[in-house]
Symmetry: C2
Subunit: 217 residues, 2 copies
C-alpha cells in the first residue's frame, strides 16, 4: 500500500488527497488552515494542521517511509518552493508540485520537483480543443506526430460499412475500435456496419486527424 503526503488542501490538493485515498493509498493531508483540514479529514488517513514551512515540525512527521509528496500550496509561491526543497532533502522519491506560472515552475524543478503541474492551464487547453472540435470526445497525445481521438459517428455514416467509408485511403487514419452502446469491438473489420451515434476510436497523424475531423462537420 502506497503512502503519500499532500501539502496544501485547496481544490487541487483536496482532490489529489481524496482520490489517492479512494485508490487505496495511505494519505497524510496537511494545511495551515484549520477549516481545510477539517473538510478533508474523513476522506484521508490522517489530516494535520501545520505550517509546512516550519521545518522542525515537518521533520517530526517522519515522512521517510512515504512514496511521494504533492505540494499544492497555490498562491503561496515562495512557500511552495521552500516546501518542495524540504521534501527533496527529506528524501521523498517522487515530488509533484503545482505551479501558478512558468518562472515558479522552473524554480520548482530546480529545487527537486520531479513533475510540475498546471491544472488550470492544462484544462484550459483541453476545453479550448473541445470547443473548437466538438465531435472529438476525448484524445490521447501519442507522440508529437500521432494522436488518438474518440468521436461519435455522424448521420451521414449511418448504415455504411467501414470498407464503404474507407478512412484508411481517404484520410490515412485507422479505426481501432467501435463501440455500439455497451458492446465493444476492438477488432473492427471492413464489413462492420456503422450507425449514427456509435463511438469510434481513431488513430492517425495530427494533420490526417484534422482533415478527417473537418470533413465530419
Amino acid at each position: 500500500m502506497k503512502k503519500f503526503v499532500v501539502i496544501g488542501l485547496g481544490k487541487f490538493g483536496a482532490s489529489v488527497s481524496a482520490s489517492l485515498f479512494e485508490l487505496g493509498c495511505e494519505v497524510l493531508a496537511i494545511d495551515r488552515n484549520k477549516d481545510k483540514v477539517e473538510l478533508i479529514m474523513d476522506r484521508v488517513t490522517q489530516a494535520v494542521r501545520l505550517d509546512a514551512t516550519d521545518e522542525v515540525a515537518v521533520k517530526q512527521l517522519d515522512l521517510s517511509g512515504f512514496d511521494g509528496a504533492v505540494v499544492a500550496m497555490g498562491e503561496n509561491i515562495a512557500g511552495s518552493i521552500f516546501v518542495t526543497l524540504l521534501m527533496k532533502e527529506i528524501g521523498l522519491p517522487m515530488i509533484v508540485a503545482k505551479a501558478s506560472n512558468n518562472l515558479q515552475a522552473k524554480v520548482l524543478s530546480k529545487v527537486g520537483a520531479d513533475r510540475v503541474v498546471f491544472p488550470e492551464k492544462d484544462m484550459g487547453t483541453r476545453i479550448a480543443k473541445s470547443l473548437v472540435f466538438p465531435g472529438i470526445l476525448d484524445y490521447l497525445d501519442l507522440s508529437p506526430e500521432y494522436m488518438i481521438i474518440g468521436v461519435r459517428a455522424t448521420k451521414d455514416m449511418d448504415g455504411k460499412s467501414l470498407a464503404d467509408m474507407d478512412f484508411r485511403n481517404r484520410y490515412g487514419v485507422n479505426v481501432l475500435l467501435v463501440r455500439k452502446g455497451e458492446e465493444i469491438n476492438a477488432t473492427p473489420r471492413g464489413s462492420d456496419i456503422i450507425n449514427a451515434g456509435d463511438f469510434m476510436i481513431i488513430i492517425g497523424k495530427r494533420k490526417q486527424i484534422e482533415t478527417f475531423r473537418k470533413e465530419m462537420e
Copy 2:
C-alpha cells in the same frame, strides 16, 4: 472561423483564451482587472476591461454572433452565476462555466451552463492515478466498464512476442497498438516482438486492466 468570448482571465480563463486563439478562433477576452487584460491582449483578437456583471455594458458588446462563452470568474461565485445567466439570455449557443464547488455547479447548470468544469479537481484525480499507477502514461475512459491505457513495456517483456505474452488469454485485454520509437504499428500481430520501452495502447475492462497493471509492477 469560430468566435468565442471568455470572461475572467485567471489561469484557466487566460489559458482557454490563448488556446482558442492559437487554434484559429476569434477571441474576445474580458476581465475587470486591467492587468489581466494587458497580460492577454497580444494573445487574443481583442481584450476588454469590463465588469461582466454590468448587464448594459455586456449587451453593448453585441455577442449575438458568437459560437460560445466561457465563464471563468473563479472565486467570484455569485458573479459567475449571474454572468452565465446573462450569456444564456443573450442566446450564446454553448456556455462553459468553471465551478469552485458542487453547489455552485448545480446552480450554473440551472441558469444555463451547457458544461461545468472543475479544472483543479479533475487534474487532482489524474495526478492521483498517475502516482498510484506510474506505468500508465495516459488513459481514456471509454465507458463505465472499459478503459484504454498507454503503458511502456517492461524489461521482463523485452524480446518476447505478443503471442508469447498472450495478454488476451492471461488478462482478457487487447493490445491495440505498439509504438517503437517513432514507428507506429496500429495492427499488432501475435508474431510482433516487444522491446523494453516500447509504448503499447491496451484496452480492457477496468478490472482486467487493473490486474494487468498490478502484474506489470
